[in-house]
């Protein structure tokens, strides 16, 4: 069943007074339970695309359908894990995880139950009453994932959530995220500029072209899980994507030098 459909999304943005075409007709179908990674050169508009799916930005034209219904505003059915975590520093960890549930008007006892479950899942039980500044970057991202999952969204959107992590923490979370995906059967769209990440996580890797962005290539990765960073069988997918991206990065550098 198709969970999410993006139909011919076009988006311009303003750059020093000039209108720049960022997304030039992105069309993407995501099946229920799929794990889709989007890779592309930095600044290619992949985060913009994710923001449009989240409803945080509006496309100039095109349509996003969730379960066949058009969406235009942000909503808890599409929760996002941001690059910087975007946790609220004035709330304890557990209250951060409960925030969306509170907004949904779920009673306190039930909120506690749900948030405890996801804190357990992310191995954060001990830190429920900590404030976010007391956590490491990796723990913060765990909280952000728990917070997004607690809403039981239709689709989970992840915008380079591991970009700021050290490599050991990231490798650990890459495995954890696969386990969580298998356990929760969530539909996930994961945006990254890190090719290895996309190969480890994605059932499908969608490669974005340099600005104006289009989908250049889609690579299906049908390989057992949990996949590990050091697995050599993943190399061929990695190189395939590198090849696709190489010309894009060169194009981008040319762009910037003009």
């Amino acid at each position: 069943m198709t969970k999410l459909q993006a139909k011919n999304i076009v988006k311009h943005f303003d750059h020093n007074g000039n209108s720049v075409l960022a997304l030039d007709g992105i069309t993407l179908d995501v099946q229920e339970g799929d794990f889709v990674c989007i890779v592309g050169p930095s600044g290619c508009g992949k985060s913009t695309f994710l923001n449009i799916v989240a409803g945080l930005e509006k496309p100039d034209s095109g349509d996003v359908l969730l379960n066949g219904n058009s969406i235009s505003t942000p909503g808890p059915d599409r929760t996002m894990v941001f690059q910087e975590g975007a946790l609220f520093p004035w709330l304890k960890v557990i209250d951060n995880v409960e925030f969306g549930l509170k907004m949904a008007g779920i009673p306190k006892d039930e909120r506690r139950q749900i948030s405890q479950r996801y804190l357990d899942m992310m191995q954060l039980t001990k830190f429920a009453d900590s404030y976010t500044y007391q956590l490491s970057t990796g723990m913060k991202q765990r909280v952000a994932i728990a917070r997004a999952l607690a809403m039981d969204p239709e689709i989970l959107l992840m915008d380079e959530p591991f970009a700021a992590l050290d490599s050991q923490t990231r490798d650990l979370l890459l495995v954890e995220l696969q386990l969580i995906w298998e356990r929760t059967k969530k539909t996930i769209i994961f945006v990254t500029h890190n090719i290895s990440e996309s190969v480890i996580l994605g059932n499908r890797v969608v490669v974005f072209k340099n600005r104006p962005s289009k989908i250049k290539k889609e690579i299906v990765i049908d390989y057992r899980r949990p996949r590990l960073m050091e697995d050599e069988n993943l190399q061929k997918y990695y190189h395939q994507i590198v090849e696709e991206l190489k010309s894009e990065v060169i194009a981008q550098i040319k762009d910037e030098n003009q």
């Binding site: 942000p74 909503g75 929760t79 975007a86 004035w90 404030y131 500044y133 007391q134 917070r147």
Partner: protein
């Protein structure tokens, strides 16, 4: 926080208090020496003991406690009005962007406008009365509340608002649970500044407008050539400013900063 940290903190506090007491003792000592040198007549510069006697006098005839009570009462009510109106205008500036931007472009002039300069205007507009003073205090503090409300909310990292909207927060809940707490550390700084402006304004206005209060004791002292009374009132004004800031405003700010972890990496 473990016990060691607490005890270190306490001994640091004791240390600071001892230093403060030492500084005061030196100040009083120098004052006494200058007094004994007899450069100024006693009527212009009384000794510390004479000022202490003036203190006893204005406390026992109740003029000081009464003055403190009236001035602080006035200050609190005027500042409360400033907070309410200043916040509302600040929110309107957020809501109506063009209005906010325009008004904000005057902020430097509004914030640096000397509070005393409102006094003649207030006397002519309202008169030598309670409302005249309240007006001066409100006008002196409302702009810092207004501008800080505006800039605190404008400077909230957009990612907090995006994250909140993404989790279904909107309307008043978004304001109550995200905008307000996210703006709080910066709002507190604005309130502190507003309080300090209000404090300047009220003493000035009471001196100039000769209306009962702490400032008025100062001007009565001047009229009766009673320097002891003048200095005793000045010390009182200093002490109140210090106590309110250190034990109230600063404590609130520290508590918020600690909770947010803003002092964590120092």
């Amino acid at each position: 926080m473990n016990e060691k940290v607490i005890s270190e903190k306490n001994s640091q506090g004791l240390h600071d208090a001892a230093n403060a007491a030492l500084l005061l003792a030196i100040f009083v000592g120098v004052w006494q020496v200058v007094f004994m040198l007899g450069i100024w007549p006693q009527i212009s510069l009384p000794s510390p003991v004479m000022v202490a006697e003036s203190f006893v006098k204005i406390i026992s005839n109740f003029s000081l406690p009464e003055g403190i009570g009236i001035t602080l009462g006035r200050l609190v009510s005027a500042f409360a009005i400033s907070i309410v109106l200043g916040t509302l205008i600040g929110l309107a500036m957020i809501r109506f962007r063009g209005f906010g931007k325009t008004l904000n472009s005057f902020s430097a002039g509004l914030l640096s406008f000397p509070s005393i300069a409102w006094v003649p205007f207030s006397i002519l507009l309202i008169g030598f009365n309670e409302f005249g003073i309240l007006f001066v205090v409100i006008m002196s503090s409302i702009f810092s509340v207004m501008i800080s409300t505006y800039s605190s909310i404008r400077n909230i990292p957009p990612i907090y608002l995006d994250a909140a909207k993404n989790m279904g927060a909107k309307g008043f809940a978004l304001f109550r649970y995200v905008t307000l707490p996210a703006a709080t550390p910066s709002l507190i700084i604005g309130l502190r500044q507003g309080w300090s402006f209000a404090w300047h304004a009220i003493i000035g206005a009471e001196i100039l407008m000769s209306i009962v209060g702490l400032g008025h004791i100062l001007s009565v002292g001047r009229e009766f050539l009673d320097m002891g009374e003048v200095i005793a009132s000045m010390i009182t004004i200093f002490a109140i400013g210090l106590i309110v800031d250190r034990f109230l405003l600063n404590k609130i700010e520290e508590k918020i900063r600690r909770k947010w972890g803003l002092d964590h990496h120092r």
